[in-house]
Amino acid sequence: MSVYRVLWVPGSDSLLGVCHCGAEHLSSDPVDVWSWLIAHPEGHGQ
């Protein structure tokens, strides 16, 4: 099933989005991170 993760990188203001497909995306904007995640597979290097 589809599980998306967003980790707040310790010691920074960055968020790391981790898709269920394994692709990752670094951003400073949570709206951008979720938009990238749910766009799977677009832009996920599949």
């Binding site: 099933m1 589809s2 599980v3 998306y4 993760r5 967003v6 980790l7 707040w8 990188v9 310790p10 203001d13 968020l15 904007d29 949570p30 709206v31 991170v33 979720w34 995640l37 749910i38």
Partner: protein, 350 residues
């Protein structure tokens, strides 16, 4: 077609605590639907539309005769399945004389009601909160009416950084707002998880007075939000540096399960059920009173803030650009999950 409601249908919602439903007729509006509840002679909870089919008189303002409700206006009588079994002055009962009967399930001290079509109601999908009715736990609870929409309470509970500012002196300390979170959206199970683990934090009065810990603490907050209704905050409190053992019970820590049931009453009001279950000081009335009073104060602080926000939404309208930062990651995930549930619910697809 865009949804005309913000409330997902074809979902289970908490309608009441089981202890609230007895022989008397009880009215409660759930997701805009007025419902009358009572406990039948079998012990089962009955939930029927709270409007007589004749002239819409509320059945909750009527009277019970056995397991039948006799309308207080003209005497239309309904059995526990909602079928009309008697009308005044004639023997023929119109074929359409029945009120809607709602699927109901009792679990973990809650009465759940299915809002939507009858067919998909599967009680095995209802999320669990076993601490509320389990041996080895003591629970305090309450319910506050919230004059604000469901989504505002979801936003509030998914971002606990507000504890530092809105609930300082109760459950908030500086570390809550300062500590990074990890967020997970589990689409298949309809769950959003948000974790905040504080290694060395000030102990807020809520936990200091209930556990007796006086120094710094290791404080973990692990949220599971089963959209749209059930919210679990697994709170672990221990002296600083005390972590769960690799195996065996985590008996050097204090565990508090803070549970909310977020049930829309209408599009702009919500039933805010709250519970605090603990695995220490079991049955200790002094601790129970302290936690009940303190948590109710915290909930009322939220109620005051969210009621204010609802009023602002009403007067300002939608003409502003919202700004989200890292602390909102969980709230954004929950919003998306609710929208997804709403997009597939009958009100949206009809």
């Amino acid at each position: 077609m865009a949804p005309t409601t913000q409330i997902p249908r074809n979902q289970w919602y908490v309608a009441a605590y089981g202890s609230e439903i007895g022989a008397d007729l009880k009215a409660r509006t759930i997701c805009g639907e007025p419902i009358v509840f009572y406990r039948a002679s079998s012990g089962d909870v009955v939930a029927l539309a709270d409007r007589c089919v004749h002239r819409r008189f509320p059945l909750s303002k009527s009277r019970r005769v056995g397991d039948t409700i006799v309308c207080g206006y003209h005497g239309f009588s309904y059995d526990a399945a909602g079928a009309c079994v008697a009308v005044p002055g004639q023997t023929r009962i119109p074929r359409t004389a029945r009120v809607k009967s709602y699927p109901v399930a009792e679990q973990d001290s809650f009465v759940w009601v299915w809002i939507g079509d009858d067919e998909p109601a599967d009680a095995t999908t209802i999320p669990r909160a076993p601490w509320l009715a389990a041996e080895g736990w003591t629970t305090v609870r309450g319910m506050e009416p919230l004059a604000a929409r469901h989504s505002l309470l979801v936003d509030n509970l998914l971002d606990l950084s507000h504890e530092t500012y809105l609930h300082g002196g109760y459950i908030g300390t500086p570390e809550v707002a300062e500590t990074p979170i990890a967020t997970e959206a589990d689409e298949g199970n309809g769950v959003v998880r948000v974790s905040r683990h504080m290694d060395d934090a000030e102990c807020p009065p809520f936990y200091a007075k209930s556990t007796g810990i006086t120094g710094q603490i290791t404080r973990w907050q692990d949220i599971e939000y089963f959209s749209p209704c059930l919210y679990l905050l697994h709170s672990r409190i221990a002296p600083v540096g005390v972590l769960p053992p690799a195996s065996g019970p985590d008996d050097q820590a204090f565990h508090v399960e803070v549970v909310y049931a977020l049930t829309p009453e209408t599009e702009t009001s919500t039933h805010d059920f709250w519970m605090v279950a603990r695995d220490f000081a079991l049955g200790d009335e002094e601790v129970s009173t302290f936690l009940r009073d303190n948590n109710r104060t915290v909930v009322l602080q939220d109620v005051e803030a969210l009621n204010l926000l609802e009023e602002i939404l009403r007067t300002d309208g939608d003409a502003y650009q919202e700004l989200s930062i890292n602390i909102d990651t969980g709230g954004l995930a929950a919003r998306r999950m609710i929208k997804s549930q709403n997009d597939t619910s009958p009100a949206a697809t009809a």
